[in-house]
């Protein structure tokens, strides 16, 4: 029977086109994300190309986290060389099969401690294979513990540490995209599938009447959906690969993937796309297939199959449970002591809110129709007809309202959360900086800082340089922060210290942001002992001396510059010196002796950092683009199918003498109702998440909602809704000769 149903898809694919389109879009985005996860990152060995084996201090940091059965080894690539003793080349030269062993330094991120070299390049004697030599070297180094011993292409990763770091960052971003893509695809496909099944309910009733069991109908539909998923996967594979290739170039251009990275393009992508789409489509259709299986066979006998007006009580109960769950999750989120914990619950909260709106959609539509009663009289017969149809069939209208609400909730919460955080970051940067002047440029050293502090009018001066440290919070991750020297810091920076003091961190001390210090992250307070790992993997055990609130602009940890020196892969120094006091003239006189340095007022420096922050929003834009495209496809797809389903209404209007204009007005009122109700429901569902995220990230309940993008979102939703309703209407009305002109 399934074979015949599938033959049916071939001959009459109409109702399933939406499912195939939704599958294709899901497959496109999944393939793009997967091809980015597997992106090929070239790492030329450069001057190590002649070496058979390259030996360096371990280029990654590996720790065992947790204890007992939960113990887990985690690893992060290091951005700086650990350095190996310069005597290592002589030791390696003794290994049998080694022709030469030469210490090499001067790589980006190279060790700067005296007596260390970055790597040792080992050349093999003629006839000794590289892997054999690597094994011998490993044995000579007592198992190679603490070293990276590389041959072949892996030598390139030792020569270019930034490649491994950027690749890990890019992969993390791509991996972060996959769960929302899958979740939203499930939502979209479930809505589309439900409509596709609903459109053919009488056919399933006929099958049931002539003896198909519930299971046979259910399995036939699932097989049908799997075929649609495979077709969608096949259609989405090539665009996905192209999108992945473009994405890899764009990420590389924004230093989120190593330069020259190329997306993973393989025939396997086709299999992955088809397989994933088929599974997602079949999963999403479970509810619709079960419902179709339960279709009463008596419906086959009815001229107009009666549709249930109200949602099934189980659906309402589940919707109320989801609403209750959203309430509980909101309380739980707000109850989280750490902002990071609140942010972690934001996406689940958004999903639960959307689920609640989806399940309670018919009830919301009925309520909105009740509110819109005054329009029945004011809007004339067309409005009366449209609203009567909506009131009579809230379930059917809900299938159109739900994707609009989803699009608004998803795009709105992601966009405005980013906007709020961006604005808060800029505001924090402005209010954090209390220094009057900022000196920047190359070769800002400790000596320069001393000279600045020695100027007569200078009250305080502090050098800052960005540094990333690895921390177990609780997973092993790189945390961005600043290495600072000089002070007192309180005179050049106002970080909003909530505990402890931040005059000038001394070696053995560390200051941590509220975001990073909270439970579930580092879980520390002032006086706590904490270990972080410097860029070359060196552990730094320190006492928390201060906890500060304003971390969006300055990072989550502050460590003394003296501690970071020699471990960052760069010569000791600063990117900026923040100066309080002093006159522009004396500062200008000082930097005149240091070519390449610039001095700027606080306002100019803030404007420059704000501009730089804007340029770094590419990752957020990418996520927003993915979410928006999925939401738009869902909206258009579902509305087109729902509008086409109303062909009978159009025919009936024509038969009773309605003009084309009157029929258009009926559909227009319907589109207006769907837009307004969808916007309201979407704002409701998205607002909960937006407020929670804003509160967690900025400490304020007031999200930043710029008028132009907000109006743009509403206009885009209105345009998509109007287009998805009125374009099919025009096409159908042209084929309806009974509609009178005018």
């Amino acid at each position: 029977m399934r074979g015949w149903m599938l033959a049916g898809i071939r001959r009459g694919p109409g109702p399933l086109v939406g499912t195939v389109v939704a599958s294709a879009v899901a497959a496109t985005l999944s393939v793009a994300a997967i091809s980015l996860v597997g992106a090929h990152t070239p790492a030329p060995a450069g001057r190590l190309a002649a070496a058979s084996v390259v030996v360096a201090g371990d280029t990654s940091l590996t720790l065992t986290l947790g204890g007992g059965q939960d113990a887990q080894r985690e690893s992060v690539p290091l951005p700086a060389y650990r350095g190996v003793p310069s005597s290592l080349d002589r030791q390696l030269a003794q290994v049998p099969g080694v022709a030469t062993a030469t210490g090499e330094s001067g790589f980006a991120g190279g060790a700067v401690r005296p007596g260390d070299t970055d790597v040792v390049a080992v050349a093999a004697k003629r006839g000794v294979p590289a892997d054999v030599l690597a094994r011998r070297i490993r044995a000579a180094l007592h198992g190679g513990q603490g070293y990276t011993i590389a041959t072949g292409a892996a030598r390139g990763y030792v020569a270019n540490l930034n490649v491994a770091v950027e690749r890990a960052n890019g992969r993390a971003l791509a991996e972060a995209l996959i769960p929302p893509i899958v979740m939203i695809s499930l939502f979209v496909l479930a809505a589309t599938t439900a409509l596709a099944v609903n459109l053919r309910r009488r056919r399933f009733a006929l099958l049931r009447a002539v003896g198909a069991t519930r299971g046979q109908v259910r399995r036939a539909i699932l097989a049908e959906l799997a075929v649609c998923g495979v077709a969608g996967g096949a259609l989405g594979c090539l665009p996905g690969a192209a999108l992945g290739a473009l994405g890899a170039h764009a990420l590389a251009a924004h230093q989120m993937l190593p330069a020259g990275s190329a997306a993973w393009l393989s025939p396997w992508l086709l299999a992955i796309a088809c397989g994933t789409s088929a599974i997602v489509a079949a999963l999403s259709g479970q509810i619709a297939a079960r419902r179709a299986g339960r279709t009463s066979p008596a419906q086959a006998l009815r001229e107009t199959a009666a549709e249930r007006k109200w949602p099934h009580p189980v659906r309402v109960a589940l919707g109320l449970a989801a609403a209750g769950g959203a309430g509980t999750l909101t309380a739980l989120t707000l109850g989280q002591k750490s902002p990071a914990g609140q942010l972690a619950l934001a996406f689940p909260l958004l999903l639960v809110c959307m689920l609640s709106v989806a399940l309670l959609g018919p009830v919301l539509v009925a309520f909105a129709a009740w509110l819109a009663r005054p329009l029945r009289a004011a809007g004339g017969p067309s409005a009366r007809l449209a609203l009567a149809a909506i009131s009579a069939q809230p379930r059917r209208t809900a299938s159109a309202v739900i994707p609009v609400a989803m699009a608004v909730a998803l795009v709105g919460s992601v966009y405005f959360a980013n906007a709020s955080i961006g604005r808060a970051t800029a505001a924090q940067a402005t209010s954090t900086m209390t220094a009057g002047h900022v000196i920047s440029g190359a070769n800002l050293t400790a000596a320069t800082l001393r000279q600045v502090r020695a100027l007569p009018g200078v009250r305080a001066a502090a050098g800052v340089a960005p540094v990333s440290v690895a921390a177990t919070d609780p997973d092993l991750e790189q945390v961005s922060g600043e290495a600072v020297a000089g002070g007192p810091l309180g005179r050049v920076l106002d970080l909003g210290v909530t505990a402890g003091g931040l005059a000038a961190p001394r070696p053995g001390q560390i200051a941590v942001s509220v975001l990073e210090a909270g439970p579930g992250v580092l879980g520390v307070h002032t006086g706590s002992r904490v270990t972080v790992y410097l860029p070359d993997g060196t552990p730094y055990r320190a006492t928390v001396s201060a906890i500060y609130a304003r971390s969006l602009a300055f990072g989550d940890v502050l460590i003394p510059a003296a501690v970071a020196a020699g471990h960052t892969g760069a010569p000791p120094g600063f990117t900026q010196i923040l100066v309080s006091g002093g006159t522009p003239a004396e500062l200008a006189a000082l930097i005149a002796h240091h070519p390449g340095l610039r001095v700027a007022s606080r306002s100019v420096a803030n404007a420059q950092s704000e501009q730089a922050a804007g340029q770094n929003s590419f990752g957020d834009d990418l996520i927003l683009g993915v979410v928006a495209s999925l939401a738009a496809v869902a909206l258009v797809n579902t509305l087109v199918v729902a509008t086409v389903e109303r062909r009978r209404v159009l025919r009936l209007l024509g038969r009773v003498g309605a003009t084309r204009g009157q029929a258009a007005a009926v559909f227009g009122w319907h589109a207006l109702f769907v837009t307004v109700t969808g916007l309201a429901a979407g704002v409701g569902a998205g607002a909960v998440t937006l407020l929670t995220v804003t509160r967690a990230a900025t400490g304020s309940w007031a999200p930043f909602i710029p008028l132009a993008p907000a109006a743009g979102l509403a206009a885009a939703v209105a345009a998509l809704t109007a287009g998805a309703v009125m374009i099919p209407f025009r096409a159908m009305s042209r084929r309806e000769p009974t509609l009178a002109g005018g």
Partner: protein, 276 residues
């Protein structure tokens, strides 16, 4: 010849008949608003009989067919179909019973539009995981006057009369004990309707056929006519004549007009389906 039978006492040995209803009531709606579409109906359809069920709109004739065929569950009473008490069968067993021993012909949406004529005819066999022999399908099609050239066509390429013939062929392909037909000629012109009924009568050949209709002409092909009024069996006529049937229907129509019962039943039925 018109034979009037006292309805509630006429049922004897209902269990021997392929279709038997015993004290069946079907209500639509709940509580005070509930309207009985069938009100304690007891009757049977003998093996090999060809019976028309008639009545004005809302008299309960479609509900009777649905309950008898197991498509609707009665509110109370017992329905036996092909010797099995339907209430005791699971949904799955009812489905298996329908596809093996029962055939259906509806007024519209009789055929799956995506399947060819041959595939539609063989549908019950396929559902039963039985091989659909090409020869059997051609034979079934030939019995209703469909040529081999039409077997590969899609339903949309056939006339209304041809589509009903395909539905009859599908209903008979499993050689069922009973065929239920709901207004099978409702959408056809009189000439085509007569042709379809003649075919059904000839092709049924020993199968029990129950036709729901409001067309007196249908009874020309029937052994018996059962008249429903207000959800009850009003009378049963053996060897019905169309003119007599038309007069009886007119009388029932006038009675329904006086009581408004027909409209009430329709309202009740719709209320039960949530249409108001």
């Amino acid at each position: 010849m018109v034979a009037q039978i006292a309805v509630d006492t006429a049922v004897t040995s209902v269990t021997a008949a392929p279709v038997a209803l015993e004290d069946v009531t079907k209500r639509y709606g709940r509580g005070r608003g509930a309207v009985p579409a069938l009100d304690r109906v007891s009757m049977s359809f003998a093996a090999g009989s060809f019976t028309a069920v008639l009545g004005v709109s809302g008299s309960g004739k479609s509900t009777l067919l649905q309950c008898a065929a197991g498509l609707e569950r009665p509110s109370s009473g017992t329905v036996r179909l092909c010797g099995a008490e339907l209430a005791r069968l699971s949904h799955r067993r009812q489905a298996v019973l329908r596809r093996r021993r029962v055939g259906f012909v509806f007024q519209d949406l009789n055929l799956l539009p995506e399947l060819t004529v041959a595939e539609n005819i063989a549908l019950p066999l396929r559902l039963d995981h039985r091989p659909a022999d090409r020869v059997d399908i051609e034979l079934a099609a030939a019995r209703v006057g469909l040529g081999g050239g039409q077997l590969r066509r899609l339903p949309a390429e056939l006339s209304g009369g041809q589509q009903q013939r395909v539905a009859i062929a599908r209903a008979l392909i499993t050689r069922p004990d009973v065929v239920f037909a709901d207004e099978p000629t409702g959408a056809l012109d009189p000439h085509m309707a007569a042709g379809v009924l003649r075919l059904l009568r000839e092709a049924a050949d020993g199968t029990t056929v129950v036709i729901v209709t409001h067309d007196p002409q249908v009874t020309r092909f029937c052994d018996r006519a059962v008249f429903l009024h207000a959800g009850r069996v009003d009378r049963v006529v053996d060897g019905p004549e169309p003119t007599v049937v038309a007069r009886l229907l007119h009388e029932l129509g006038e009675r329904a007009g006086q009581t408004g019962r027909g409209d009430l039943a329709v309202l009740g039925e719709r209320a039960g389906r949530g249409r108001y």
